[in-house]
Symmetry: C2
Subunit: 496 residues, 2 copies
Amino acid sequence: MSLIRRLAEIEGFDLSTEVAIVGLGGAGACAAIEARRAGREVMLFERSSGGGGSTMLSACEMYLGGSGGTAIHKALGIEDTSENFRAYLMECFGDNCDPDRIDMFVDGAAAHFDWMEANGVPYNRRLFDGRDVVAMTGDSLQYSGNERVYPFCEVAKPVPRAHLPADADHNGGQVLMGALIKQVHRLGTDVRYDARATALIQDDDGRVRGLVVRMDNRDILVEATRGVILCAGGFVMNERMTAQHIPAYAKVGLRHGNPGDMGDGILMGVAAGGHAINMGEAFICVASYPPAELTYGIFVNNKGQRFVAEDSYIGRIGAAILKQDKAEAYMFIDNRNFARPEYMNGTEIVAVGETVEEVERESPLPPGMLQHTVAYYNEHAAKGEDPLFRKAPRWLQPFDTAPYALISYHLRDISPHIFTLGGLDVLPTGEVVTPNTRRPIPGLYAAGRTVAGIPRTSAGYASGMSVADVTFFGRAAGRQAAAAEPVASEGVLARM
Amino acid sequence: MSLIRRLAEIEGFDLSTEVAIVGLGGAGACAAIEARRAGREVMLFERSSGGGGSTMLSACEMYLGGSGGTAIHKALGIEDTSENFRAYLMECFGDNCDPDRIDMFVDGAAAHFDWMEANGVPYNRRLFDGRDVVAMTGDSLQYSGNERVYPFCEVAKPVPRAHLPADADHNGGQVLMGALIKQVHRLGTDVRYDARATALIQDDDGRVRGLVVRMDNRDILVEATRGVILCAGGFVMNERMTAQHIPAYAKVGLRHGNPGDMGDGILMGVAAGGHAINMGEAFICVASYPPAELTYGIFVNNKGQRFVAEDSYIGRIGAAILKQDKAEAYMFIDNRNFARPEYMNGTEIVAVGETVEEVERESPLPPGMLQHTVAYYNEHAAKGEDPLFRKAPRWLQPFDTAPYALISYHLRDISPHIFTLGGLDVLPTGEVVTPNTRRPIPGLYAAGRTVAGIPRTSAGYASGMSVADVTFFGRAAGRQAAAAEPVASEGVLARM
């Protein structure tokens, strides 16, 4: 089945609108709201029977800062300059990013929070200062990444930037998407559910003129006079594509997203002349906390060597384990802080002993290595130092309370969550661009995990970066398509 | 500039042939030879002023085995069963490969050697048994990868599989490509130099019908009634694409290839409906040997930890260093084996001392780590063991001859050679396929570094794998296109 239909080859359109959007997740909802507020006709096609996408499945933190701080920051007396926010993001992704995208995001992120509140997403003005993947306290602000972790903490002043819907626990996605979808409908968007976009319609000049949507077992041809916005998610649910693009992740990971994350939007965009980039990168998380006290433990690889600052974010720990031989890792911990991780299954107690030597002997680790690693760690931790990885002093505690335990964290056993970070190359405006010259393809826009956004590696990821990126740049794409010069409508056939 | 021209939009063709080939490197030459021998008209378009491609720039080892052994293996009494060869390749690339491609290659590799000899490439029947990147002895067989390295040596019986043109030293590429290009011309291929393919011509059914070639400042439209074969190299010379697809490699690497490796073939294939895969992987080599005695040294990262078996192949060492913090590494060695690597610039002596402790104190390594690493290594090396990485006993020697030295191998300083390993997804026959369903695009074939071939990661690479892959599957693509049902010719305009 072709992903492109030529305008010249179709008899005519069944439906016509100004802006057509594919997908009602975070990006598509925001694009629709902006395009409707700009006064445009908007049709939105969602392949599921309801809206929400992968955004709705998430806790819906949004990673926001800069401009001195968001409204929550300001209420709490926390300052976050744009320079500070930019410095943090560049340390996360500077080796592989679109600086223009980061600049636009940094400049507009604080106002994006106001926009989200104005659209009815409830937030309070309370900070959760603990170490957890998602605050379970109802608070609306938390540290959610590597802000307090070396080397990030030396490059930028640590600021908590994850903004959570109030009192939502893990259900922030339902709160946020509930509010946005309400706006989408209230503003008069023509939303069609059970409607899967299967192809783009392109004219002989390369302009995207509409799309083919499968509805009620028929191919419906939809004209979009100002543009099509692809917000169709990533490709983590596509087994062929994940095996080809992220084989190491796909081999061990638990696919995280909604069933529609099949790569449709990426493939349609490429077929129209776009360029898929960063396709080999994915988020992979090892939720070694909560409980936070597990941070006192140390990770070692199957040589008995440490390899990561254990106070890192779950995505950075996942990326670090993936680099180790056979993606194998162990946590060593003493009885004072022993616990099982709340969010992980599949960890196993490999060895327990009254001494490190006894633990090592019971383990598959090479003789002597764990003993040295623990002795070295203890010696320096007692002085509040970690010369190897600079774990923060607050998490340094010599191991001194027998019994000691070694717990396996082999990726193949613990099913770390994964999702994709590759997609279409776009300008910050959402315009899909060609390879090399990065020339916009007229009439084609994209946002959400269909594009290569700000987060481009698990090692620099923080909770809330995806939702912030997809909603912020979903809005931008909606505005851009709404402002595009329209082509004259071809009119609509009588058959609908 | 569009990468696709619609057949319906052109006035007519300027030239017509049965098989059109883009690029006269190893893949294109082999494709042309096979298509000509199958009796087809063949036109070949090369963007440079002469043939050879990146294959000609290489030492032109070919990595071959299986079927009991090649003619050289048999003359030397070396056995290499197909099972053994397959087991080795699966250990190299099994996590990320096309098993059908490996099967076809394993079954045909020994006969491919005979084919190459029959085409005039000279080989002798002598084995070089030393450790060098390229044998400088004139011998035609050598170990060129990780055959004798753990875990490869446990999975497959170590067999030397790099086949080198006789007495060629580093000039094997000129010998092999010289012979092949002579055949290409002798067989009557219509070769056009200074002729850059810029677009494919596709009909409304999606069949590739020809290509646009820039010659003498004109766009020449070339019909290919049986098919177009893209053998246009990889994309390592394309700065935009390398920054987008292999940023970590591009940041430190020295681009290895010919100036035409601009990704043209990959981008044209994608524009025609193909799928680019493995785009984030590249070869990266750290030629820490020769001289071979440097293998007695140990590599440590900037934590003072070992991280690789030092008897590994240069590509595996490069991949291992790239994974370390800041891509920094050091070699520790004693005076008995001290030397400077012959093929690397940019290494620096960071510290020298009469004791390990003195070296460590002069170095930027964290206190105590190097001392432990060396003591641990020495203790086990004295027993002929390496419990961490299982370096082979022949390379284990306790460090005992002062002075000792620490030499930096930071990737940013040593400019490791890189080339790309991503490209079009193809069937082993060279048929370019669509995403997901992997349906062949009629009339479109590809081989060489324009496709994702057998070698898909530097960690499993061995010298000779690329030349073997591009020539073997170049032939397959030539045969496949030659055997394709032709479309009726549209005829040629009078203007040429």
